[in-house]
């Protein structure tokens, strides 16, 4: 198959044809000018000057000046665009070899209709697109004025349709979903592109249940613009793997003008303000023996239960809030950074360097410090402050105009991210586990085991527990865990305009990341959680990610008619995403040793390297009619190394229209309506299978044989079948329609509305085979399903007050989505269509179940039901004797399962207010956001009420509401039917809707007296900021936003972890 050869030849031929057929210009002229703000008569930097229906484009420098070269002689219409200003147009006449002047003055506006966006074919006016694309323009200003430490902080609550669950740990991975989910078995995460290069955004396994994100290595201080391409209708030209959306990031570039320096310094506090719940102890006596014991509400009066209990008193205790005991203290952080930019028309540069340090709220307690001190064990800083992060980032971007026809942009970024990962949220050794799940009383009356009711005052090796459960916090903090990332991202983009109507752009770039996860317990360190734990253990996992991206795009414009402009784009791109992973670990370390090489027993495994390569070609034709109606049609074809050998290529079509109706003569003129644009788009894109899922593979293993001679044949090399392969494997294909409008009302309101409907066919589903088939792969991936999602998005910007002394602007975003499984196909013999749960006949339960059915919920895929819908056994309860305490018999758990709905938030609302005070020298901003429409598992209570010492309120406190008592009984005891006990965690699967006071900031421009003393320029500012100030919710757990344990089945969960920390920051921005 010579697909690639033919396609490249076709591309070359088409380019040649276009070129030859088109008209060429005579020698061009030059246009120079300046763009000023009408508000203050100051030059406007970063304004985009475009030649309408041409490829001419320039950006103003710090002095507001711009130059357009190689302009064809004749008349050209220029348009100037800038975020926050109304666009302006001007017609300019150019004479060959001469320089024309065109100056512009721009008015402030709330409208964002005329922005420039970066698309797959290059920069385009937003008005030309039939899609909704969210733009976080002017990121630099946001970062300066709102506490922003990572991409989560930057993106959360800013764009309708984007669900972002931030990581709750320092450096934790955010979960980003755009327009819900559509894949049953594949990732629903968007892809990321930074300066034209595919950017790895995966999570790093930390060895605990907390994942850390590669996204954290990208410093928000370096970002100029983020665009969110939301679905296949917009992402068609990004090809296979773009069906879940694309996040396009552009880093800052230099601007011509005098050299400008920006210095920033920030100090911050980090506090854990979670309202940790009390634990309880119900003191009583065994009715038979009189022995003091812990009463359980459900069995206190049940004589059938051995040792029924007479309750005496109930105590409660909160280890996490006890200042004598807690390991939660005030964390802190700081940032120091600077950047410089400048240059001239020929060469522009931007360089930056930032150092961000943060120490989380976890800190070793005084009594543990004293214990180590008395044992003459020096306390290492990584034990004392087990949660910390340091990020050093450097960027150097260069833009050069090498000739009037050729520009070169070079973008380079290096970052070094060091995470000190606290041992938490892990079931075995977790700080939050031992603190949250305490006994419900403090102290130890008897001083020896058992003390009080059931408390063991000592760890198994005799270390005092000081009211913690099972492990001493000091020993846990000895578990040293680091995750370190070193990353380089670089790209070079050449832009060649051989003739004024043609622009050719080529980009090549790499994203290289070296990642190291290291975990260490030296000899005699860490809790004795296993027989070998104290002998020392070390894990060193190293992985490398190598992305190579190359892109060619050629765009030609011509005017076949005076009122029509045609823009033809041809493009090709290639990505090669490679990963490899090496894991080593060792046990039994000599004193002081900390390397795998020094371990007595060493294990090593090499995960197979993977490479996924995509070659895509596309052609797009856009017609602009009178610069108000835009029609676009495009098609892209992809070939991908992960496709099955029988499937060679895939085609993704796209059509869209954008119509600025208010510019039409027939459109009624209303004083309250300044502009109105209709838009609609249809497009397709895909999600590729995993790198090797189409291949027949075998798993190598060195195994010790069975000893038929009573002699071990140790280390023999063996093979077992791994997967049978699938030659017909092809990408999941999503096709989306979206339509909506943008309008400008009352000169104060900008309103955007979008409806979208996405259908996914050939959905890749991990079909379940019966275990008895003895197949090597019991969940092969097949293209058998289809799904559908739809939703609404609304965003409005309102300038409520616009006086010199006082300004008030508001941005409101809201979105809602739904989805469902449409079909799971009918692959005979692979996927049963009869129910496997009699309670839900006759629907197709199919073969897709996950989770432990006995108590936990399970994500089921049922046609007509939401994707990953959560199913639990329901239950009923009633306090028959009216004593306020439920017994086991008063709770009835169903044997069948019922649906409990969505697990990913469907309703997203954010309200951002900005107030400009004191002649706009002070700006106050506040962001509130809401997530709702889904439920998650309150994993902490679900666990604590069901496991020793059973000290949660639901099982101990007679005043606990009946619904909470019932939840605990359903989980722990269930209902016996026949000889099967049916239990349920349904009572802990609860709505997690909430409002959060997400951001607050006060930005004060430094007075002239201060800036002059500092020799700084106007625009220098002092910012007080806060993040995650308060949460309003009925959530019973720690944080309704926790994304702990989020897996492919979108099983958001919360399990004995912490919530988002609250930040208070003070930042100084100095400009020179």
């Amino acid at each position: 198959m010579d697909f690639g050869r033919k396609s490249f030849a076709a591309l070359a031929a088409a380019t040649a044809l276009l070129t030859g057929a088109a008209r060429l210009s005579a020698q061009g002229g030059t246009i120079t000018g300046r763009v000023m703000s009408a508000a203050n008569n100051q030059p406007l930097a970063e304004a985009r000057v475009l030649g309408i229906q041409t490829t001419l484009a320039a950006t103003t420098g710090e002095d507001g000046k711009f130059t357009l070269r190689n302009v064809p002689a004749g008349t050209v219409q220029l348009q100037v665009l800038r975020v926050g200003y109304q666009s302006v147009k001007q017609t300019v006449t150019v004479t060959a070899g001469q320089t024309a002047t065109a100056d512009f003055t721009m008015q402030i506006a709330v409208a964002q209709l005329e922005e420039i966006v970066t698309t797959a074919t290059g920069q385009q006016r937003k008005i030309e697109l039939g899609n909704a694309i969210s733009t976080l323009g002017d990121v630099g200003k946001r970062v300066e004025t709102v506490p922003t430490h990572n991409l989560s902080d930057l993106m959360i609550g800013k764009s309708p349709g984007v669900t972002l669950l931030p990581g709750t740990e320092l450096g934790g991975a955010p979960t980003v979903r755009i327009r819900g989910v559509s894949s049953i078995s594949l990732s629903n995460a968007p892809i990321w592109v930074v300066d034209g290069v595919r950017y790895s955004s995966g999570s790093l396994s930390s060895g605990t249940d907390v994942n850390f994100s590669l996204l954290n290595s990208l410093n928000p201080e370096e970002i100029e613009d983020i665009e969110i391409v939301k679905g296949p209708s917009a992402a068609t030209l990004y090809g296979t793997n773009a069906a879940n959306g694309v996040v396009v990031i552009t880093t800052k570039k230099g601007r011509s003008g005098s050299t400008r320096w920006n210095w920033s310094a920030e100090g911050r506090t980090v506090s854990d303000r979670v309202d940790y719940q009390d634990m309880y102890a119900n003191f009583g006596k065994d009715t038979k023996t009189g022995v003091v014991t812990r009463c359980q509400l459900a069995t206190m009066t049940t004589s059938a239960f051995a040792g029924a209990c007479n309750s005496d008193s109930v105590t409660h205790y909160n280890y996490m809030k006890d200042p004598d005991r807690t390991f939660v203290h005030l964390g802190h952080g700081n940032l120091f950074g600077g950047n410089v930019s400048g240059g001239n028309d020929a060469v522009r540069f931007f360089a930056s360097g930032d150092l961000d340090n943060e120490t989380g709220p976890l800190q070793m307690q005084g009594f543990e410090l004293a214990r180590f001190d008395s044992a003459h064990v020096p306390v290492r800083d990584e034990w004392y402050h087990p949660e910390a992060q340091q990020r050093a980032s450097f960027r150097g971007n260069l833009s050069a105009t090498l000739s009037p026809k050729f520009d070169l942009n070079i973008s380079t970024g290096f970052s070094k991210l060091n995470n000190r990962i606290p041992p938490e949220s892990d079931l075995i050794i977790s700080l939050y586990y031992v603190g949250m799940q305490n006994y419900g009383y403090k102290g130890c009356p008897t001083g020896k085991f058992p003390c009080g009711l059931d408390k063991d005052p000592f760890q198994a090796d005799g270390v005092p527990l000081n009211d913690a459960l099972q492990w001493s916090p000091g020993d846990i903090m000895q578990v040293t865990q680091n995750s370190d990332v070193q990353r380089f991202t670089g790209s070079a983009t050449g832009s060649w305009r051989p003739i004024h109507w043609m622009q050719n752009e080529a980009t090549v770039g790499v994203d290289l990341a070296a990642i190291d996860f290291f975990q260490l317990c030296r000899l005699t360190e860490c809790p004795p959680q296993s027989a070998t734990a104290k002998q020392g253990r070390v894990t060193d996992n190293q992985s490398k990610s190598r992305n190579f991206s190359a892109k060619l795009a050629s765009t030609s414009t011509w005017n076949p008619l005076q009122w029509m402009n045609l823009k033809t784009s041809l493009g090709a791109d290639y990505t090669n995403l490679e990963d490899d992973f090496a894991r080593t670990n060792g046990t039994t370390l000599p004193p002081g040793a900390s390397t795998v090489a020094s371990a007595t027993t060493r294990n090593g495994s090499q995960q197979q390297p993977t490479a996924v390569k995509t070659l895509g070609l596309y052609v797009q034709e856009q017609a602009g009619i009178r610069d108000r109606l835009f029609l676009t049609a495009a098609i892209r074809t992809d070939q991908n190394s992960a496709f099955g050998s029988n499937f060679q290529k895939v085609y993704y079509p796209k059509v869209s229209t954008s119509w600025l109706m208010s510019d039409e003569s027939f459109f009624p003129q209303y004083s309250w309506l300044q502009s109105f644009r209709l838009r609609a788009a249809y497009g397709a894109s895909g999600v590729q299978p995993g790198a090797t899922q189409g291949l027949i593979t075998f798993t190598p293993a060195n195994v010790a044989l069975t000893g038929r001679n009573s002699t071990a044949e140790v280390g023999a090399s063996g093979l077992t079948a791994s997967q049978p392969g699938n030659a017909n494997l092809k990408p999941e294909r999503s096709a989306e329609f979206e339509g909506g409008f943008d309008s400008q009302l009352l000169n104060k309101v900008h309103l955007e509305y979008t409806f979208w409907n996405k259908k996914t066919t050939d959905a890749l589903v991990n079909i379940t085979l019966a275990p008895s088939s003895a197949a090597s792969q019991l969940s092969p991936l097949l293209n058998v399903g289809s799904t559908q999602g739809w939703g609404h998005e609304l965003q409005t910007n309102i300038q409520l007050l616009d006086r010199r002394s006082l300004g008030w602007d508001m941005t409101v975003s809201a979105s809602h989505f739904s989805n469902k499984v449409v079909s799971l196909g009918s692959v005979s013999g692979l996927c049963q269509t009869s129910p496997n749960d009699p309670s839900i006949t006759p629907v197709i339960v199919a073969c897709l179940r996950s989770g432990s059915g006995s108590t936990s919920g399970e994500a089921r895929q049922i046609p007509g039901h939401p994707i990953n819908e959560q199913w639990y056994r329901g239950y009923t309860y009633g306090d028959a004797n009216g004593d306020g305490v439920l017994q086991i018999s008063e709770v009835k758990v169903d044997s069948g399962f019922s649906n409990f709905g969505y697990k990913v938030p469907r309703d997203i609302i954010s309200i951002q207010n900005g107030f400009d005070l004191f002649n706009r020298r002070v700006r106050v901003q506040a962001l509130f956001d809401y997530k709702g429409g889904a439920s998650i598992l309150d994993g902490a209570n679900n666990f604590q009420c069901n496991t020793g010492p059973y000290a949660c309120r639901d099982t101990q406190d007679p005043t606990a509401p009946l619904d909470r008592q019932a939840a605990a009984i359903a989980k722990t005891f269930g209902t016996l039917v026949g000889n099967t006990t049916y239990k349920s965690s349904a009572g802990y699967f609860r709505s997690n809707q909430f409002w959060k006071f997400r951001e607050f900031s006060v930005t004060a421009q430094l007075p002239h007296a201060v800036t002059s003393r500092l020799r700084a320029q106007n625009g220098s500012s002092l910012v007080f900021g806060a993040r995650n100030l308060h949460t309003w919710s009925n959530w019973t757990g720690i944080d309704p936003e926790a994304n702990y344990g989020l897996t492919q089945s979108e099983s958001q969960n919360e399990f004995q972890t912490t919530g988002l920390p609250t930040y208070f920051t003070l930042r100084l921005n100095l400009k020179y």
């Binding site: 063996g718 093979l719 275990p771 049963q832 006995s854 099967t980």
Partner: protein
């Protein structure tokens, strides 16, 4: 506008040159898009005698999943020997997971996640792959082929002994499954044992009377295994005749060897009991949460201090039970190390099959002779050498007493080796005792009471097989 022909020509030439350069410099399809995944072992690597041998090694490694620990992850990583021991009275739950507790309490929902069922039955596929490869590429290696047939029978026997009636023994063809095949029809445990016996016979047939050391070892292991299956079918005399001491010495052992330096190869009992304390050796009296619980019918393994099941108390072990130290932890000392070998079958098993043959014929004295011979000259269990015990001087006079004594001795000799659940089921099925007089019964220390399950259920995951609609029955 006027067309500038020179410029157009230049662009045409440049584009054409670029296209040619791209298409001629490399074969795009092969160079740019080939998977190039060097870590993959693909189908080109199999299809040779060397590969056949490797598939055999891989399959036999997976056979150990009945006893080893591939994941260290609690119940889903618990092997079938341990799950059976937990449902019986060898182990008790010291973990926090419901899934573990339900098995311990004998009230298991079939939608419980049974990694051990899946892993166990999946081994059948690996063994079949290896048999096919060995027969094709190394037909002369009769001991190896016989060993694989023996392994297939052993896996099937393990399923029958531990899981309910209603076990399909399906097959697949390169991952393609035909659920209409009779292979997917659920079979009773007796039928599965019969299938296992045919595979043991295949092993014996191919090994024949060869006298090389490998063939003898495989033949002995197969004979013991077949005899064990026959016992399960109640064919006691036929079973005893297969394993006389003249054929199978008491010292014989076919060992599962694990390997500490290989990931996931730890001995499961060591991991779950000795290392991470998710199960504790069981006792008839349990002090939990300040209360004393008595479990009826349980052999008090932890407090007996029997030389065959030495126990380390939890406080001496310096580790707590995984449920926050709530359950008293008793740690077995037969396999102290993570890679101590554990017998799949042994001469002890052969003697006990002979002894049960005597029990069945009412020759209690002969039974006692065999049992006392083991006590006074105890063979090794893996590397563990039990201390010499005194002979039992009182010979039971009734079958009931003899049965009780025999199965207690058997429980102690074969502790932790996948026999106990099957033996308790046989006490119900073959000796006429009721389950409440055999299995752990009464109040459970973690709340509630013991149920009436006498086997592990085939889990609901099997329901994608349209011929399977749950256990045929859960009878012993």
């Amino acid at each position: 506008m006027k067309i500038q022909k020179n410029s157009a020509r230049g662009v045409v030439i440049a584009a054409a040159a670029g296209g040619l350069l791209l298409t001629s410099a490399c074969d795009v399809n092969n160079e740019l898009l080939s998977p190039q995944n060097p870590g993959i072992v693909d189908q080109t690597a199999v299809g040779s005698p060397v590969a056949a041998a490797a598939l055999k090694v891989g399959a036999m490694g997976r056979l150990k999943y009945v006893a080893s620990d591939p994941s260290s992850a609690g119940f889903t990583g618990m092997n079938v020997w341990q799950a059976g021991g937990l449902m019986a009275d060898e182990f008790m739950n010291s973990d926090f997971q419901n899934t573990m507790n339900d098995v311990d309490q004998r009230t298991v929902s079939p939608d419980n996640t049974f990694g051990n069922y899946t892993r166990t039955t999946q081994v059948r596929g690996y063994i079949r792959d290896a048999i096919a490869a060995e027969v094709q590429f190394e037909p002369q290696k009769t001991a190896d082929i016989g060993e694989l047939w023996m392994a297939l029978g052993f896996i099937e026997m393990s399923l029958a002994e531990n899981f309910c009636n209603g076990i399909p023994l399906g097959i697949n063809n390169a991952g393609v499954v035909d659920y209409n095949s009779d292979d997917f029809k659920p079979r009773t445990d007796a039928e599965v044992l019969q299938v296992a016996i045919t595979h043991f016979d295949s092993a014996l047939a191919i090994v024949g009377s060869a006298t090389d050391v490998n063939s003898v070892a495989v033949r002995n292991a197969t004979l013991i295994s077949k005899a064990r299956a026959l016992v399960g079918l109640g064919k006691f005399a036929e079973a005893a005749n297969l394993v006389p001491s003249s054929t199978i010495p008491s010292s014989y052992q076919y060992l599962f060897i694990t390997q500490a330096s290989s990931n996931g190869e730890d001995l499961g009992t060591w991991t779950l009991n000795n290392s991470i304390a998710r199960v504790s050796v069981s006792d008839s009296l349990v002090n939990y949460g300040g209360k004393q619980f008595q479990t009826l019918n349980s052999v008090p393994f932890a407090s007996l201090n029997d030389p065959r099941v030495p126990i380390l108390k939890g406080t001496d072990a310096k580790i707590p039970a995984e449920d926050g130290g709530q359950t008293p932890l008793f740690i077995q000392q037969i396999w102290k190390g993570r890679d101590d070998p554990i017998p799949m079958v042994s001469g002890i098993d052969a003697r006990l099959i002979e002894a049960e043959g005597k029990l069945q014929t009412g020759d209690y004295a002969a039974m006692m002779t065999i049992l006392n011979a083991l006590r006074t000259a105890p063979p090794k269990i893996g590397n563990f050498q039990p201390a010499t015990m005194t002979a039992i001087t009182t010979t039971p006079t009734t079958k009931d007493a003899a049965t009780t004594l025999f199965f207690r001795e058997k429980a102690l000799w074969q502790f932790g080796r996948g026999y106990r659940l099957s033996d308790l089921r046989r006490l119900v099925r073959q000796y006429g005792r009721t389950q409440d007089k055999v299995f752990p019964t009464g109040s459970h220390y973690k709340g509630g009471t013991y149920g009436t399950d006498t086997s592990l259920p085939v889990p609901d995951g099997e329901r994608v097989n349209p011929q399977f609609s749950g256990c045929i029955d859960k009878n012993a």
